[in-house]
């Protein structure tokens, strides 16, 4: 059973130097309350793995503004000009990863696989330094699993066992990241009793969830 606590308490799980996965696409499906708490911690050496850095000062952009991110692994930073600026200034080290490869690398980590062969990126700078293999006449890059210390997840509904439902396009990277991190913290809009969710409908089984916090209020 996950521990249910406030965002302020739970964010202590993230420490200086932690690698943190954060769900969301732009700001859709990003656990903004957890991100806001994290941004207020005064940390400066986080490695953040996410699809994008949201908007300037919004969503994951709050962490960029707070200079909390030392290293960033993402597929797109164009929607937040501050990220590009800090990258050029050398304040943030950025690794850009094709979005499908990013999703699959995260899934790989959760699934106990070491890596996978993808045709994406063959013949591009993405291939630099990577092993290439040919199978049945098609060229593939070997891409490796991407793990994290902590994942910050946004769910729509959670039950007290940590079973999660996501809503519409806010699902995106959240279910993948919930499997790939040592410690999983979920911000849910609603926390319901065990038995209220249909086992066929559950999108992330509760066995992955360590901490649960309610999205709106701060007392869970």
């Amino acid at each position: 059973m996950p521990k249910i606590m406030s965002q302020k308490e739970v964010i202590a799980q993230v420490q200086e130097g932690s690698t943190v996965m954060i769900g969301g696409f732009m700001t859709c499906g990003t656990p903004v309350n957890l991100v806001r708490e994290l941004a207020s911690r005064g940390l400066h050496h986080l490695t953040v793995i996410c699809n994008d850095t949201g908007l300037q000062g919004d969503g994951i952009g709050m962490l960029i503004t707070a200079d909390a991110v030392k290293r960033l692994i993402a597929s797109h930073i164009g929607t937040n000009p501050e990220t590009g600026k800090k990258m050029i200034e050398g304040k943030i080290q950025v690794e850009l990863v094709p979005q499908g490869t990013l999703a699959e690398r995260i899934r790989c980590a959760g699934a106990g696989l070491g890596g996978f062969l993808t045709p994406t990126g063959v013949g591009t700078v993405v291939a630099d330094g990577k092993q290439e293999m040919e199978i049945d006449g098609r060229r593939y890059l070997l891409e490796k699993a991407l793990h994290a210390d902590v994942a910050l997840i946004k769910a729509w509904k959670a039950d007290r066992k940590g079973n999660l439902l996501y809503r519409k396009s806010a699902r995106n990277f959240n279910p993948l990241m919930a499997m790939a991190a040592q410690t999983v913290i979920v911000e849910a809009e609603e926390i319901v009793e065990v038995g209220e969710l249909d086992p066929d409908a559950v999108m992330t089984p509760g066995i992955f969830v360590d901490f649960l916090t309610k999205g709106v209020s701060v007392d869970g």
């Binding site: 597929s75 850009l96 979005q99 499908g100 994406t120 063959v122 396009s169």
Partner: protein, 224 residues
């Protein structure tokens, strides 16, 4: 033609390429316009790489849902019969060849079908997002772009100079001047805007352009 007319011409022409039943991904910007020109009787399913099929139009004002956006982060709707999934499944769909057509813009395309669309070193490095997966995975890659850069330089090259998005993937390029097939290392002019001569189009194209034996005019009806 003004910019708006060019964009309409390109988007409308690309829409003609879509077949009934196709699963289609439309990139941000000009490609998004394609959705507005799909002929009657042609039902396509739009895929949004942030996690669903059945992408519908923008919602009515006040009906926006924070949990339902397209790959550009704009509020959209989902049509009846649509389905949501996570990012791994979304790119399984894309990479696995389950998207029939992807439409996107370009900085450069070359005669081998190489595509550069995601970065200008030292200038613009937004990240590739889903573009690399889309052009590698989709069964057919259609580029919709102005024929020339803003500085008036050709975008259709013998060989791409910018960092590539992918190798040998582009099947068709539609510009305000021409419709050009890219196949086995050769660009072939299929259709031309009647306002431009073949020579003018060739002058605006760095790559060698073969002429189709069935070279036709692009349809400008309602545009001029």
């Amino acid at each position: 033609m003004d910019d708006r007319q060019k964009r309409v011409l390109i988007a409308r022409r690309i829409a003609q390429e879509l077949a009934d039943g196709d699963v289609v991904n439309l990139g941000i910007g000009l490609p998004t316009l394609v959705g507005g020109f799909i002929p009657d009787g042609v039902n396509v399913t739009l895929q949004s790489e942030n996690g669903f099929v059945g992408l519908g139009p923008h919602p009515a004002p006040g009906e926006e849902d924070d949990d339902l956006v397209n790959a550009g982060g704009q509020p959209v709707t989902i049509l009846p019969g649509g389905a949501f999934f996570d990012s791994a499944d979304s790119f399984a769909i894309i990479r696995g060849g389950h998207v029939d057509v992807t439409v996107l813009g370009a900085l450069e395309v070359d005669a081998r079908g190489n595509l550069a669309s995601w970065m200008i070193p030292g200038k613009m490095v937004p990240g590739m997002g889903g573009a690399m997966d889309l052009v590698v995975g989709a069964r057919r890659v259609i580029v919709g772009t102005t024929h020339l850069t803003k500085k008036g330089e050709p975008k259709l090259l013998k060989k791409c100079r910018l960092p590539l998005t992918a190798v040998e993937v582009v099947d068709l390029v539609v510009t305000e001047m021409a419709v050009i097939a890219v196949e086995q290392g050769t660009m072939t002019l299929l259709e031309k805007n009647p306002n431009y001569s073949v020579d003018a189009i060739r002058a605006a194209t760095d790559a060698h352009l073969e002429l189709s034996l069935e070279l036709r005019d692009m349809d400008l009806a309602g545009l001029m």
